[in-house]
């Protein structure tokens, strides 16, 4: 059994990581909740965001926090393009969107590896570095890295901003109305196609932000998409589909369990722990720990 210090350190770091996982899952949750599409390319959008930050940092020396803004802009464009493809299959049942997005994810991953190998710095793993402040912060005997603290704060702020946007703006209300009942929303004069387009762009932008933040903590290669997709989906399931603040709780659970699991069982079993917890929760409580009765299909 590891010492209490190590354990509390793992828990604090888990919470900090959980904040970013929440942000990583938020876009997936929104697109799922509103368009009823599981964006299996979500992890790959996140990967693109991470690489935008990496490229900005390496070529322009841009801080990854500014790189994050660039990543969000790039991903809005990617999201809009993705919508142009997805509009063919929205509402066509569940397997068609999944298969189309699966194909797109493959194409993104493979062609990005090609670009990296042939025109950029190769496909070995890359990270960015938050060089404003370095070193560890110690609070009440628990130490954690400052980059984790900064990324956590930024991620949580973005999640809360998204919640405010959905709750209090006209577009946000239209999005929620469309999610509840697309037909009724159309009768009320809401352009649901436009709403879907906005949702896709917003989801992609959030994925881009999460990717840029994650690039400060973990190395990125063209294949990280799948594992982040599974983690993000785990968070969505734990928090409940479409629930914005639920993703914060779900992210915390995954972050903590992953870190504590890595500490107790071994670092190489990190992903096994979080995936197993996810699968377990999925099976025992398909509607999520904090979810409403929505979902299940």
């Amino acid at each position: 059994m590891p010492s209490i210090d190590l354990l509390s350190g793992a828990i604090v770091n888990g919470i900090l990581l959980g904040g970013i996982y929440a942000l990583a899952a938020l876009g997936l949750s929104l697109v799922f909740g509103i368009m009823d599409i599981v964006n299996v390319a979500h992890g790959h959008l996140l990967m693109i965001g991470g690489y935008v930050a990496v490229i900005m940092a390496l070529t322009l020396g841009l801080s990854p926090l500014l790189g994050m803004l660039v990543a969000m802009v790039v991903l809005v464009v990617v999201g809009l393009l993705l919508y142009e493809v997805m509009q063919f299959v929205v509402g066509e049942g569940m397997e068609q969107p999944i298969l189309v997005l699966f194909g797109i994810a493959l194409a993104i991953q493979n062609s990005w590896q090609y670009v990296l190998d042939n025109f950029l710095f190769g496909s070995h793993a890359q990270t960015t570095d938050l060089s404003i402040i370095t070193g560890n912060i110690v609070v009440a005997g628990v130490s954690f890295s400052s980059s984790r603290a900064v990324t956590f704060v930024v991620a949580v702020v973005l999640v809360v901003l998204t919640w405010v946007f959905m709750q209090y703006t006209k577009t946000g209300r239209s999005i929620r109305a469309t999610a509840q009942n697309p037909a009724a929303a159309r009768y009320m004069g809401i352009d649901t196609d436009h709403i879907y387009r906005v949702t896709m762009a917003l989801g992609a932008a959030l994925a881009g932000a999460a990717g840029a933040l994650l690039s400060m903590l973990f190395p990125f290669d063209p294949y990280v998409g799948w594992s982040y997709l599974l983690k993000a989906f785990a968070v969505v399931v734990l928090g409940g589909v479409g629930s914005i603040l639920g993703t914060l709780a779900g992210g915390g659970v995954i972050g903590i369990s992953e870190n504590v699991g890595a500490l107790v069982i071994g670092e190489s079993f990190r992903d096994v722990v979080s995936l197993s917890i996810f699968l377990l929760v999925l099976i025992v409580r398909p509607h999520g720990l904090f979810g409403s009765s929505e979902g299940g299909e």
Partner: protein, 342 residues
């Protein structure tokens, strides 16, 4: 085999049977007539065809989109490797089995995994099932990857059998014919009709007394058995398995491409898809090298959007349906419709 083609008019029935026999004969000639390289390639095609038929049973007929097929394929491959070469994984030597038995044991191992995980996985429906199977496959791959002594880690696991690659090849062709025949009769029979009823409307089927779990489990276990056999055949032919490649998600992806290309929920689709996929895959690799996967990904998307019935559906619409307009079910095999009108 008379019912195999009984939907076609007599002349095309004979043509179809003749074509099938000709293909099998051509396949059997491959080891004697061609190079080692071609044999490897064709074997991969045969393994893909088995995988495609098995995934098609689960996804195309029973409507359960699994993204974890590679796990069952890889587990079959590993189990067959363990029982032919037990000492390398630290198992006692008396466990050693001939390759033929090992392949079946590989299939059984995969089927048992399906039997154990199925009741839990089928608590999930639709999207959740797809992602759940993806997670299950990732867990199995991570576990094997971490258990160096069992899987050989990054260096992989070398298989020894004194069976010869040609014998494994004949076995693979035999397995393909058997898998096709078993699947065909299953899909024509009660099990297949139950699966298709669940695919088309699970709640309606359930209301009419078709137990969803029962039929999904049949599809899952049989399909996993076939996938495990395919894995065993592949391992015994290549004589090498590796956790990151043999259990890799790329097997799932390629299987998906094949079935979607050929036509989901049809008998001929997976075979057609496997043949065309092998041709396209090699052609694409020649043309664009490592970018082949990108084009395959785009092909999946394009086919799902513009030709959701695959090549077989497209060809059938063009050449067969004109004779019997309205006789075919638009989205899948006609078995359910025809049986229903009996």
């Amino acid at each position: 085999m008379d019912r195999l083609t009984d939907r076609l008019p007599a002349p095309s029935r004979n043509v179809a049977l003749g074509l099938g026999v000709a293909c099998v004969v051509a396949l059997l000639l491959v080891p004697t007539l061609t190079s080692n390289y071609v044999e490897k390639l064709v074997l991969k095609g045969v393994v893909f065809a088995i995988l495609a038929i098995s995934w098609n049973m689960l996804a195309g007929y029973a409507g359960q989109i699994s993204l974890g097929h590679a796990a069952f394929f890889g587990l079959g491959a590993y189990i067959s490797a363990w029982v032919t070469t037990p000492s390398a994984a630290g198992f006692p030597e008396w466990l050693a089995m001939p390759a033929l038995v090992a392949i079946v044991v590989g299939g059984l191992g995969a089927a048992i995994l399906a039997l154990l995980t199925g009741p839990a996985m089928f608590r999930l429906r639709g999207h959740y099932f797809a992602i759940g199977t993806l997670a299950l496959a990732a867990i199995i791959q991570l576990l094997l990857n971490n258990m160096q002594s069992l899987s050989g880690g990054a260096t992989g696991y070398y298989v020894q059998n004194n069976f010869g690659s040609a014998a494994v090849f004949y076995l693979a062709v035999l397995a393909l014919v058997a898998v096709f025949a078993v699947t065909y009769y299953m899909m024509k029979g009660r099990l297949g009709l139950g699966m298709q009823a669940i695919r088309d409307d699970q709640d309606a089927a359930s209301t009419l007394g078709v137990s969803p779990l029962r039929y999904k489990m049949w599809a899952f276990v049989v399909s996993s058995f076939f996938a495990g056999v395919a894995g065993g055949l592949y391992a015994q032919h290549a004589m090498y398995v590796n956790a990151s490649t043999t259990l890799g998600v790329s097997w799932t992806i390629d299987t998906l491409v094949i079935v979607i290309l050929g036509g989901m929920g049809t008998m001929i689709g997976p075979l057609l898809g496997a043949g065309i996929f092998m041709a396209i895959d090699n052609l694409l690799t020649d043309l664009v090298g490592v970018l082949a996967t990108s084009l395959e990904g785009i092909l999946i998307a394009l086919f799902v959007i513009f030709a959701p019935q695959g090549l077989y559906g497209f060809l059938k619409d063009r050449f067969l349906d004109e004779r019997r307009p309205g006789a075919e079910h638009p989205t899948g095999d006609s078995a359910a419709v025809e049986r229903g009108s009996d």
